[in-house]
């Protein structure tokens, strides 16, 4: 039994984008909060600038968790062959496990989804074999919380440029990041073919904001921590706010084993292993899961009870299905003028012309220029396929072309498949003895068609901007997830086809909520973090007001 000291109003599992916001909102609303994070609180120095071990290139490891040892997953390929993989290896679909989660090391693009993104099924119809559905809430429902995220976490952008969205009630708190050399070239190219471009909104301070400095435009943004702490995540905004109330206790390096219920199946708390490996039970009136789309689904599935023998919230076999992420079709171009001026983060310019209304395909996506590319990533991923892989020609090309090469790419809205899924593996356990995530299936083939369409648009933009040579691989069918993982516990009014209701509450439970991208019905043609933050503001506010 949990001792008196282990009793809270709310337990939040996971201190990333969703959990961090929930902690801040609920602690400030007067609730006693326990925030449990399996990773550590990482300093700038601990995250470091290792070009071979980071969230962008995890060749030999990574820099923001989870630990390489003791955290396996199982990946099942198209022929049903399962293999056990480690967190930095392909197929794991890792997202950072540390205080702040992905927001500690992300590129910080701060996109709102569009109104149509909440109504994909009614806009396009449901292709055969897809679980495409509308959200139970609309853009208008979420709009005030987008605004809160933009102001309370901190976004730099230009409201007037966001012509693909209904007009904003309030501008962004900070002006856009200054355009750099590649951005100028791409804006000129888009303009030549009549495409509207806009500055990419970023969760990065461009002026001093919230007591922290402005961005110095360094070259190590995405995949790393910020040297001036100008990159806004939950670790430097909502979590410190939660702690400052004196009502939020946070424990790190603590792994939640299961959701605890009473004899009637009512959620009463969680059991977790602390950093010494001691199993501890904590009790609360409300439990909020914010562990990310793979780990939240895993926790529900690993919490079977007599009342819900298939896992909590899984009576209708919905938990873990519809895993989505983003395809990123992209085209690389060699230009006759320099594209690199060294000014980070790098991404400044996007178009939303192709998010919707494309002939013959479902949805679409945003296209944008690229973050500064580390030299080893450039060598591994961006060289033309006809270039020798080694020798004098390879070296000369690197020397002559690094500053003249640039790419356009963007996230394509996934068309969900119920077979793209997270289950738990019947054999493999993690270092605590907990059954691990098993990933299987692929996205729906319609996603690949849309991605192929967007790949052509990327090529069109690169060529219009003056590239003398272009290359890049067309998209192929695969499982999508990764850092943009979403959809495994989607929202809906019908418990037979969804896991949570429109407020993020798990069907059949009155005190179990999910506040992360698991609840996304669809994942937009945009980086999803602002939607995760906004939904968490909305869910947490609902919880605070409900008792």
């Amino acid at each position: 039994m949990a001792s008196q000291a282990n009793r809270y109003d709310v337990i939040i599992v996971g201190a990333g984008a969703g959990g961090g916001v929930a902690a801040g909102v609920l602690a400030e609303a007067g609730k006693r909060v326990l925030l449990i994070e399996r990773g550590r609180s990482l300093s700038f120095e601990e995250i470091g600038r290792d070009h071979l071990r980071n969230q962008r290139l995890s060749q030999h490891g990574h820099n923001a968790g989870p630990d390489i040892v003791g955290n396996p997953r199982v990946s099942v390929d198209g022929r049903g062959r399962a293999r056990t993989i480690r967190p930095h290896e392909g197929g794991y679909h890792n997202n950072a496990a540390c205080v702040g989660g992905g927001t500690r090391v992300y590129g910080a693009q701060a996109w709102r989804f569009m109104p149509q993104d909440f109504r994909m099924a009614s806009t396009y119809g449901v292709p055969q074999g897809s679980s495409l559905a509308d959200w139970p809430i609309s853009y208008e429902d979420l709009e005030p919380y987008y605004e809160r995220a933009e102001w309370e976490v901190g976004v730099a952008g230009d409201r007037a440029a966001m012509t693909h969205l209904p007009s904003y009630r309030r501008d962004y708190p900070m002006p856009s990041i200054p355009v750099n050399q590649q951005g100028r070239v791409y804006r000129r190219g888009a303009s030549a073919i009549g495409w509207h471009t806009l500055p990419v909104p970023l969760l990065i301070n461009t002026t001093e904001y919230n007591g922290r400095a402005a961005c110095h435009q360094c070259q190590h943004c995405v995949g790393f921590a910020c040297p001036t702490d100008a990159k806004n995540g939950t670790q430097n905004t909502l979590i410190p706010r939660a702690v400052a109330t004196g009502r939020c206790e946070s424990v790190t390096e603590a792994m939640v084993e299961r959701i605890e219920t009473d004899g009637a199946g009512r959620v009463v708390g969680v059991a977790y292993f602390d950093r010494e490996g001691t199993r501890t039970e904590a009790r609360a009136e409300v439990v909020v899961l914010s562990a990310g789309a793979t780990e939240t689904a895993r926790l529900l599935l690993n919490s079977a009870t007599a009342a819900e023998p298939q896992g909590i919230g899984n009576t209708h076999d919905q938990v873990g299905r519809n895993l989505q992420g983003h395809y990123y079709p992209g085209v690389v171009g060699l230009f006759s003028e320099p594209m690199f001026d060294g000014l980070g983060p790098g991404v400044t310019t996007a178009t939303c012309r192709f998010n919707h209304g494309n002939d013959g395909v479902i949805g679409g996506g945003m296209l944008a220029d690229e973050f500064i590319v580390l030299p080893i990533i450039f060598q591994k991923r961006m060289l033309p396929p006809d270039l020798p892989k080694w020798g004098a020609a390879n070296k000369a090309f690197m020397r002559d072309s690094y500053r003249y090469i640039s790419d356009i790419k963007g996230p394509v809205q996934d068309i969900p498949s119920p077979e793209a899924r997270v289950t738990v593996d019947p054999q493999v356990r993690d270092r605590w003895g907990i059954p691990v995530v098993r990933l299987s299936g692929t996205t729906h083939p319609e996603t690949v068609r849309t991605a192929a369409f967007m790949w052509e648009r990327a090529k069109e933009w690169v060529l219009a901007s003056g590239a003398v040579k272009v290359w890049g691989k067309p998209p192929e069918l695969m499982l999508s997830g990764g850092q943009h993982q979403a959809g495994t516990c989607r929202m809906g009014d019908d418990p037979r086809t969804s896991v949570v209701d429109a407020h993020g509450r798990v069907h059949g439970h009155n005190n179990l909520y999910i506040a992360d991208a698991s609840v996304h019905v669809t994942n937009g043609g945009f980086n999803p973090v602002l939607t995760i933050l906004a939904l968490s503001f909305r869910t947490a506010e609902h919880i605070a007001q409900s008792w």
């Binding site: 490891g61 690199f340 030299p375 080893i376 450039f378 080694w390 390879n394 690197m398 020397r399 500053r403």
Partner: protein
């Protein structure tokens, strides 16, 4: 770790993967230092140590089979031609590891040592970054 002869073969191969020209070659830039450090006990490539030892010996055998010379003593053009055949699995010596897989890994790890951050033990004084124009400010 590697024998003196294996290290000689490694040095010669790294200097053909990234040849010296107006800027340093792979070996002088520390790509080999990176590789030896990672292959050593505790390094991230330590599980490849035996694979490398076998592959380097086989590369030398290939040179001797073909031209009765140690790989390191062949001229640049001959080394390049031999490596191209190894890359294509067109070998005559008996290889205990798959030639193309060995060479692909050697190229991959050499590039990591040359273009990765100096903190990984290669890319001495960020020489490759200066060469391509990757600047670190702030």
């Amino acid at each position: 770790m590697l024998t003196a002869q294996q290290t000689e073969v490694l040095q010669a191969a790294i200097n053909r993967i990234i040849p010296p020209d107006e800027s340093p070659g792979g070996w002088d830039a520390g790509a080999g230092d990176y590789l030896l450090r990672q292959l050593d006990r505790g390094g991230d490539l330590s599980h490849f140590a035996e694979f490398y030892a076998k592959g380097l010996d086989a590369l030398n055998d290939e040179a001797r089979t073909e031209s009765w010379a140690a790989f390191a003593t062949m001229d640049d053009a001959a080394q390049d031609a031999l490596l191209a055949r190894v890359e294509a699995d067109e070998v005559t010596a008996k290889w205990p590891v798959e030639p193309s897989v060995f060479f692909r890994r050697l190229v991959e790890h050499t590039m990591e040592g040359f273009y990765g951050d100096p903190g990984n033990g290669g890319n001495r004084d960020a020489v490759s970054w200066q060469m391509i124009g990757f600047e670190v400010r702030g």
